[in-house]
Symmetry: C2
Subunit: 300 residues, 2 copies
């Protein structure tokens, strides 16, 4: 492994999982870490998320070969500025953010002299904070690298090997395409889930108690991702605005077509769609991206 020392900035679900995965799978790497929140640093020390939890970002990156920013995408610029003067000139800069074009721009501006290879491991849970991470989070998941055109090839190769060693599969694409793809597979699903949970909470005719009691009819599935970190997701929507609005437009068109089918009693249109959507779940299970057990394997 080309990276002997890795610094992790932000020690929540993702940062903590990267630290724990390195300890388990790449034990020769020395890790340092920093989080702007004092309580998180304290808890990170207790859990041993990294070898050394530092009290400043500058201290954490001072001797690193790779720094990974694991903060909300809207906080990338300020987090990078905080350690810019202490970063070794050879150190590769990466991140785990859910939108990539805005992060690439922010990091290039803040750290113009270092190689920057943005990354997005498509993995997570609805939990957040220093207690949420675990070493196997990336096993079998895809990590997408979006190297800018001027990125050094060796750094891309090194970062690919790094993520593969942590258990991930690696795909390389440009940042704009990433942002469009993830708008579909992640951002719009989160927006829809947040919306329906909000709608259900605000109803007058149906009480909150009823929503909770009868949530096993389908609603509870949406509450999981609607319990995700609010700051992280606010930043995703503000930083991937164009792709999200574009995809939201498509979704709304399709929903309107179904609404019309329901209003006019057009059962064939409903049945056609409901039959087509089964295949994609089967493909997701066959590709190892979800559990084959009914109901996600929930206890029954």
């Amino acid at each position: 492994m080309s990276f002997g020392r890795v610094a992790i900035i932000g020690l929540g679900l993702l940062g903590g999982s990267v630290g724990l995965a390195i300890r388990e799978k790449l034990p020769d790497i020395t890790t340092t870490g920093y989080d702007s929140d004092t309580a998180t640093r304290h808890r990170a020390r207790e859990r041993g998320l990294v070898d050394t939890v530092c009290d400043t970002a500058a201290e954490a990156v001072a001797a690193c070969d790779l720094v990974i920013l694991c903060v909300p995408v809207g906080a990338m610029a300020s987090a990078a500025a905080e350690f810019a003067s202490a970063l070794p000139p050879h150190a590769v800069v990466s991140d785990v953010g859910s939108s990539k074009q805005s992060v690439q721009d922010a990091l290039a501006m803040a750290l113009p002299d270092n190689p920057i290879i943005p990354a997005h491991p498509v993995a997570g849970t609805e939990q957040s904070g220093p207690d949420a991470g675990f070493a196997t989070l990336f096993d079998g998941r895809w990590s997408i690298l979006t190297p800018p055109v001027n990125a050094p090839a060796q750094a891309v190769t090194d970062l690919t090997e790094f993520w593969e060693a942590l258990g991930a599969k690696v795909e390389i694409m440009d940042a704009q395409h990433h942002d469009l793809v993830l708008a579909v597979t992640s951002h719009i699903p989160h927006l829809i889930a947040y919306t329906i949970v909000g709608t259900a909470s605000d109803m007058e005719e149906v009480t909150r108690s009823e929503v909770i009691k009868y949530s096993a009819g389908g609603f509870r599935d949406f509450t999981r991702i609607a319990a995700s970190d609010p700051v992280m997701w606010r930043d995703v929507f503000l930083n991937n605005r164009e792709a999200v609005l574009e995809m939201l437009g498509r979704f709304t068109e399709d929903l309107t077509a179904l609404q019309r089918a329901i209003r006019s009693g057009d059962g064939d249109t409903l049945h056609d769609l409901f039959s087509r959507t089964r295949d994609i779940r089967r493909s997701i299970i066959d590709s190892g991206q979800d559990d084959a057990k009914p109901d996600f394997g929930r206890d029954h």
Copy 2:
């Protein structure tokens, strides 16, 4: 238990689970069953979903004290007509359909002389057919009874005890309120899930392979309920049209407000909603209606 002989019409996920739950939890009850599909009857015999699988619905109900229709809500009327002349006059008629006003009307029309107590156990998985059922499906879930005003009190009491014996908790409400509540907690979530899976499948700029690979970003959660039985769900939307359209209107308004917030860069509105929606997941877990484990307890 007041019911000595129970007939189950329709031997898919729900009918099969009722049969298996009776065998495990109410072993003194004798069960008969019927399904209009020959292959399903064959498989139901192999799995022993009921004591006797009959080759006609009339034969299945001939000596029963309770008949439970476990067919799509659009098929209730024809299923009831098929056995109407063979049904003993004292037999209580119930069902497990996901909409209740239309079912109540259909059964009252088809079986005017029998006591009718519609029911909806809010439980299921995305699987369907005679292999999908299991005895513990109803454990801890709510079963909603919607007795019409003229329903005999004893029959309501008997059916309540029956569902409680199968592991469910019972709530009684009127059919119209049921249809509004379930539009929120079940029907709209299914419609949204079917829509987003359809939207993602139809994109030109993002390939199906990409949708599958990066589905762990949130999308895969939606594919589970979008894999549910197409005929069952077509019928739900056609039979609960008014409540579904009303709730869909609310959802669309809320989604439009979020769209505007994203377009205008209004992070506070996004953050406020994303913070509120966490509570409801906590309440659902605390009430025993979902698993506390991160990511639904999926393997990591």
